[in-house]
C-alpha cells in the first residue's frame, strides 16, 4: 500500500452491535475509509484491517460473544487474523475474540455485578502492537469504559505468559473498575496484530463528545503500519 491510497478498515455489524457507527467515525477521523461488514456475509471486502465493535451481539445471550463467534463473517476474520490481518476487538469485540480463541482468557460479569460507565485512566503497557504503536510506552490515557461483563480472567499460567511476553497491552489505573485479574484492560496475540480491550478508544476521539482524544491513537497506529507496509 502507498500513502496515496486510503487505508480501508472494516467495521463489522452484528445484530445487536451498538458502537459500530462510532468505530466507523473514529476510522474516518483518523483519515482512513471505514468499510461496513455484515455479520451474515463471509466476505471481508478486501479490507486492510478489521474492528469488531462494542455492543450486545445477538443479545449476548448464552454468553457474551459466544454466538457472534459463529457468524459467517467470523470465518474469514479468524482465518485472516491468523495470517496477520490486524484485528481490534473493543468491548463486545474483545469478548468475541476470546470466544474465537484468537485471544486467551475470558470476560466475566463485573465484580460488583453492575454495569459501569466511567472515564477510565489506562496505561499503555505495550506500545509495539499494530494498534498501539502511536503511543509512548507507559503513556497514560483516558478513555470511556462501559460494560457489564468486563472482568478479564485467565489461569495463572496464561496470565504469567501474557505478562512475560509483554502481551498485556493496556492496564487499568486509578482503581480496577470490574475486577479484572492484574488490572488487565486489554491484551494481544503473540504477533501483536490482534488486540482486544474492554475500554472504548473510539469514544475518545473528540473532546466534545468524549473525555479526550486519547483513543485516536489506536486507529492511527494501524494506519501507520499499513502505510509502511
Amino acid at each position: 500500500m502507498t500513502a496515496a491510497t486510503r487505508a480501508r478498515i472494516g467495521v463489522v455489524t452484528f445484530p445487536g452491535s451498538l458502537d459500530d457507527r462510532d468505530a466507523a467515525r473514529a476510522v474516518r477521523l483518523a483519515g482512513a475509509e471505514p468499510v461496513p461488514l455484515w455479520h451474515a456475509d463471509a466476505d471481508l471486502r478486501g479490507v486492510d484491517a478489521v474492528i469488531l465493535p462494542g455492543g450486545f451481539s445477538y443479545g449476548d445471550y448464552l454468553r457474551c460473544g459466544a454466538i457472534a463467534r459463529f457468524a459467517p463473517v467470523m470465518e474469514p476474520v479468524i482465518a485472516s487474523a491468523r495470517r496477520g490481518l490486524p484485528v481490534l476487538g473493543i468491548c463486545n469485540g474483545f469478548q468475541i475474540l476470546c470466544e474465537s480463541h484468537l485471544l486467551p482468557g475470558a470476560l466475566i460479569r463485573n465484580a460488583r455485578r453492575r454495569f459501569v460507565c466511567r472515564d477510565q485512566r489506562l496505561r499503555v503497557e505495550n506500545a509495539g502492537t499494530a494498534w498501539t504503536s502511536a503511543y509512548q510506552p507507559g503513556a497514560e490515557i483516558v478513555v470511556p469504559l462501559k460494560n457489564g461483563e468486563g472482568s478479564y480472567v485467565a489461569d495463572q499460567h496464561t496470565l504469567d505468559a501474557l505478562e512475560g511476553e509483554g502481551r498485556v497491552v493496556v492496564r487499568y489505573l486509578g482503581g480496577n473498575p470490574n475486577g479484572s485479574y492484574r488490572d488487565i484492560a486489554g491484551i494481544c496475540d503473540p504477533a501483536g496484530t490482534v488486540v482486544g480491550l474492554m475500554p472504548h478508544p473510539e469514544h475518545a476521539v473528540d473532546p466534545l463528545t468524549g473525555p479526550s482524544e486519547d483513543g485516536l491513537g489506536f486507529v492511527t497506529s494501524v494506519l501507520a503500519r499499513l502505510v509502511a507496509a
Binding site: 451498538l18 458502537d19 467515525r25 445477538y58 453492575r114 454495569f115 460507565c117 466511567r118 470511556p144 463528545t209
Partner: protein
C-alpha cells in the same frame, strides 16, 4: 366455544365479567348501546383496555384540552406534529426534526422493578420509532420512597439495573433525568422515561391506516401471554394487596372470558422485555423508513393489538379487517381475547401498500424480524363511516369483533370528575418555615451545608448514572450531572438539542398551579444554562386517584399552571402522559408533574458546562487573565423563600408555607441572557439554581470543575437566606475577566439583576464564603459522594 358476533346477537342476556375487567355499569351499558347488542368477549376485552384510564385519558381529557388550546404563537413555526400523535415533532432547522415524549411505568416498576423499568424504556422508544425517527437518547426521572427504607433497597437497584440493562443494550445514551426520594413514593415509585428521536422533517410517519387495499403487517416479537391487562389492572387502579401480590385481577377476567371460567391463569401483568429484539426492530424500522415502505405505523404498547388496530383504523380511513390466525404466537393455545390484550413487547404494526409488501418482508428477514400480514384497510359504506368506521376481526374463520373503531380508540368515556380544593390546603400554606430554627454561626452554616450536600436528594447521583451508557452513538455532548443532556444531531454543522426534566412534588403539594410552573421553569432554565434555546415541552403528570376530588383539584391546577406557563414562555406542549392512581396505602403521592423541555443549539461546540473551569491558557486573550480566576456572577434575585425547600425538608422534616414565587417573564429574560452569552462564548460555566439554592450550586460547580471558589457575601445579606433560599429565576455563571464587561452589558440590556459574588480560585482547594464558612473540596466531595454508595452498595 368461541364467542362470535353471531352468538352474541343471539344471547343478549349472557352475563359478562365487565366489572372484573375494570368497566363501570354505565360504561358497559354504553358499549351495548353502541353495538346494538351485547359485546362478544373479544370486543369486551378491547373496550375494557381501551377505555381504561391509562389509554382513554377519560378523567384528564377535560383538563388537558387547555394544553392544545393555550398555544403560544411560536408553536406555528416549530410544531410539525402535536398532541394526539404518538409523540410531538418539532422543527429544529437545517431540515431536521426532533420527536420527544415522556411516559410513566410506575406501577409495573413497583411490582417487578427490573422488568417494569426496562419495558418502560422499551415502550417510549417504540413511540418515538413510530414517528419515523431514530431514537438518540433517553432520560429517566425517578422517584422513590425514603432512601434508607428497606423497600427502596429492593426497588431502586432493580429499577436502575432495568433501565441500564434495556437502554444500554439498545445503544441509547442515557443523558439525564432525576433521582428524588420522598416517603409519599414508598409504595408507589415514579419511573418515568423520556426518549428523544431524530428524523428528517419531511419524513414523519403517522399512526394512520389509510388507502383501501393496503396491508396491515404485524412485525417483531411473538405475541405471548405476558402483560395481559397491564393498562387496566396495573396502570388504572390503585394498588391493593391483591394486585401487588398477584397482579392478575384483569388477567383473571380475560381468562374467564377465554376459558369459560374453567381455568384460572396466574401470570404477571408486568411484561418481560427483550432489548435485543427491540434493537434489531429499531434498525429494521429505520431501514423500512429509509426505503419508503411504510404508509403508517403504530407501536404495540399498552393494550397491545386492541390498541394498535383500533387506533390505526380510527385515525385512518376507518375500515380494517384483521385475521388473528396470522398473528405469530408464542403459545399456539392462546385464546383470541388473550391475543388482543397481550402486551408482549417489541412489536410494531405497519400499514403497507400491497406492491411493497414483498420488499417489506425482505427487509424484516434481513434483520431476522418476523413479519406477517394480518389484515388490510377496507372500504366503508357511508353508514359505516358515520358510525365511526368498521373494524372486523376474525379468528378460526369466525367473526369475533365487529365494531366502529372510533368508539374504541377515540370516543371513549369522558369524565368531568368532581374537583375540590382540600380543606387542609390553607393550614398547609399557613405553616410557614419561618418558625424553624435557622443556622447563624459559621459552625452552624458549615454543618447545614454539609448535611444538605450529603442528603439523598442533593448528593452525588453517579452510583445510579454510572450504570447507564452515556457515550454510545458518539454524539453525547453533555450528560448527567450537567444541567441538561445534549446530543449532536448533525455532525457537519454541530446542530444539536438539549433536554432536561424537572419536577418538584413538594412545591406542587403547597401550590399545584405554581408548582407545575416551577417545574416548567426549572427545566426551561436548565436547558438555557447549557446554551440551548428552549423550544418545546413534554410532560408526565403523576398524581393520585382521580376519584378523589382533592387529587383532581391538584391535577386541574397543575395542568392550568402548565398551560398558562407554556403560553408565557412560548414553549408549546407537544404531548405527554398522565399517570393516575399513584398512592402509598391510602395516601396519594405528592402531586408530581414532571416537565421535559427541549432546546436547540446551532453549534454544540458552544455548549456550556456547569463546572467552574481551572484557568486554561490556550484560551487566553490577555495576560491579565492568568492572574485572576473567572468572576462568579449570580443572576436573578434572592428572597427569603424556603417553603417546600430542601433545607426545610431534609433538616427539619417540614413541608409547609408557600413555594418560591414564579416570574416567568423573568425566566424568559434569564434564558435569553444565558443563550446569547453562550452564543458569544462569554460563559466559562453556567449552573441553574434550584433545590438547595446557591450553596448547592456552588458546591456542584466547584466539584465538577475540581477548583475552589472564594465568595463574598453582599452587604446586608443574611448568609443563611442567601445560601439556602430556593428563589426561582436564578443561575450562577463564571466569566473570564476579558468577557465580564460584555456579559454585564447583556444583563443590563434586559434589566436582569446580577451581582458579582466572587471568583473561581484554582489554587484554593476549597469553597470559601467570607465571614460565613470555608470547606475544603475534599470534605465536600466526601460528604456529597458518600451517600448513595453507603445506602445501596
Amino acid at each position: 366455544m368461541v364467542d362470535t358476533v353471531e352468538t352474541a346477537a343471539g344471547t343478549p342476556d349472557e352475563p359478562q365479567p365487565y366489572a372484573e375487567l375494570g368497566l363501570k355499569d354505565d360504561e358497559y351499558a354504553r358499549i351495548r348501546a353502541i353495538l346494538g347488542r351485547r359485546p362478544t368477549s373479544a370486543e369486551l376485552t378491547m373496550y375494557s383496555v381501551m377505555w381504561s384510564e391509562h389509554c382513554s385519558y377519560k378523567s384528564s381529557k377535560v383538563h388537558l384540552r387547555q394544553l392544545a388550546e393555550k398555544v403560544p404563537a411560536e408553536a406555528g413555526e416549530i410544531l410539525l406534529a402535536g398532541i394526539g400523535e404518538n409523540a410531538g415533532v418539532v422543527d429544529i432547522g437545517q431540515g431536521w426534526a426532533i420527536t420527544f415524549k415522556i411516559e410513566s411505568h410506575n406501577h409495573p416498576s413497583y411490582v417487578e422493578p427490573y422488568q417494569g423499568a426496562a419495558t418502560g424504556v422499551g415502550g417510549i422508544v417504540r413511540d418515538i420509532m413510530s414517528m419515523g425517527a431514530r431514537p438518540v437518547a433517553v432520560l429517566d426521572p425517578l422517584r422513590f420512597g425514603p432512601a434508607d427504607a428497606p423497600d427502596t433497597r429492593r426497588v431502586l437497584p432493580g429499577v436502575v439495573a432495568g433501565i441500564g440493562g434495556y437502554g444500554n443494550c439498545l445503544g441509547l445514551p442515557n443523558i439525564g433525568g432525576e433521582l428524588v426520594f420522598d416517603p409519599s413514593y414508598a409504595g408507589n415509585p415514579l419511573v418515568n422515561a423520556l426518549c428523544v428521536g431524530v428524523l428528517r422533517k419531511d419524513r414523519i410517519t403517522l399512526a394512520h391506516a389509510s388507502g383501501v387495499g393496503n396491508k396491515i403487517i404485524l412485525f417483531g416479537a411473538k405475541t405471548g401471554r405476558d402483560g395481559i391487562g397491564g393498562v387496566s389492572v396495573l396502570a388504572s387502579a390503585t394498588f391493593d394487596d391483591d394486585t401487588v401480590l398477584a397482579g392478575d385481577t384483569v388477567l383473571a377476567g380475560v381468562s374467564v372470558l377465554a376459558d369459560g371460567g374453567k381455568r384460572k391463569q396466574k401470570r404477571p401483568s408486568v411484561q418481560v422485555g427483550d432489548p435485543f429484539a427491540e434493537k434489531v426492530l429499531i434498525e429494521c424500522c429505520l431501514e423500512l423508513f429509509d426505503a419508503g415502505l411504510v404508509v403508517g405505523i403504530q407501536d404495540l404498547g399498552g393494550a397491545g393489538l386492541s390498541c394498535a388496530t383500533s387506533e390505526l383504523a380510527s385515525a385512518g380511513a376507518g375500515g380494517m379487517t384483521v385475521d388473528l390466525d396470522q398473528v405469530h404466537l408464542r403459545e399456539a393455545s392462546m385464546a383470541p381475547e388473550e391475543i388482543l390484550a397481550s402486551e408482549s413487547q417489541e412489536r410494531m404494526c405497519a400499514v403497507v401498500a400491497p406492491e411493497r409488501v414483498a420488499d417489506f418482508l425482505a427487509a424484516c428477514a434481513r434483520w431476522d424480524v418476523t413479519a406477517r400480514v394480518i389484515g388490510e384497510v377496507t372500504a366503508l359504506s357511508p353508514e359505516e363511516a358515520r358510525r365511526g368506521g368498521r373494524l372486523v376481526i376474525t379468528w378460526r374463520g369466525e367473526t369475533i369483533v365487529d365494531v366502529p373503531p372510533r368508539t374504541v380508540a377515540h370516543e371513549g368515556p369522558v369524565y368531568d370528575r368532581p374537583v375540590q380544593r382540600p380543606s387542609t390546603q390553607d393550614a398547609l400554606a399557613a405553616d410557614d418555615p419561618a418558625r424553624l430554627p435557622r443556622p447563624s454561626t459559621p459552625e452552624e452554616l458549615r454543618e447545614t451545608l454539609l448535611r444538605l450536600v450529603a442528603s439523598p436528594n442533593l448528593c452525588d447521583k453517579s452510583w445510579v448514572t454510572e450504570q447507564y451508557d452515556r457515550y454510545v452513538q458518539g454524539n453525547t455532548v453533555l450528560a448527567q450531572p450537567e444541567d441538561a443532556g445534549m446530543v449532536r444531531v448533525e455532525e457537519s454543522t454541530g446542530l444539536g438539542v438539549a433536554v432536561a426534566t424537572d419536577g418538584n412534588g413538594r412545591y406542587c403539594r403547597l401550590d399545584p398551579y405554581a408548582g407545575a410552573q416551577l417545574a416548567l421553569a426549572e427545566a426551561y432554565r436548565n436547558v438555557a444554562a447549557t446554551g440551548a434555546r428552549p423550544l418545546a415541552v413534554t410532560n408526565c403528570l403523576n398524581f393520585g386517584s382521580p376519584e378523589d376530588p382533592g387529587v383532581m383539584w391538584q391535577f386541574a391546577e397543575a395542568v392550568r399552571g402548565l398551560a398558562d406557563g407554556c403560553l408565557v414562555l412560548g414553549t408549546p406542549v407537544t404531548g405527554g402522559n398522565v399517570s393516575f392512581y399513584n398512592s402509598t396505602g391510602e395516601t396519594a403521592i405528592l402531586p408530581t408533574p414532571v416537565v421535559g423541555v427541549l432546546g436547540v443549539l446551532d453549534d454544540v461546540a458552544r455548549r456550556v458546562r456547569h463546572g467552574f473551569q481551572a484557568y486554561d491558557d490556550t484560551d487566553s486573550d490577555t495576560d491579565s487573565d492568568t492572574d485572576s480566576g473567572a468572576a462568579i456572577i449570580l443572576l436573578g434575585e434572592t428572597r427569603d423563600e424556603l417553603g417546600g425547600s430542601e433545607w426545610a425538608w431534609a433538616l427539619h422534616g417540614h413541608l409547609g408555607g408557600r413555594p418560591p414565587a414564579v416570574d416567568l417573564a423573568r425566566e424568559r429574560l434569564l434564558a435569553e441572557v444565558l443563550v446569547d452569552a453562550a452564543r458569544e462564548r462569554l460563559l466559562a460555566s453556567a449552573h441553574d439554581l434550584s433545590d438547595g439554592g446557591l450553596a448547592q450550586a456552588l458546591v456542584e460547580s466547584c466539584l465538577a470543575g475540581r477548583v475552589g471558589a472564594r465568595i463574598g457575601l453582599p452587604a446586608g445579606a443574611d448568609p443563611f437566606v442567601w445560601l439556602f433560599s430556593e428563589s426561582a429565576g436564578r443561575a450562577v455563571v463564571s466569566i473570564r475577566a476579558g468577557d465580564e464587561q460584555r456579559f454585564i452589558d447583556l444583563c443590563a440590556e434586559r434589566a436582569l439583576p446580577w451581582a458579582r459574588i466572587g471568583t473561581v480560585d484554582p489554587g484554593l482547594g476549597a469553597l470559601v464564603v467570607d465571614g460565613a464558612l470555608a470547606i475544603s473540596l475534599t470534605e465536600l466531595r466526601t460528604a456529597w459522594a458518600g451517600t448513595l454508595p453507603a445506602l445501596f452498595e
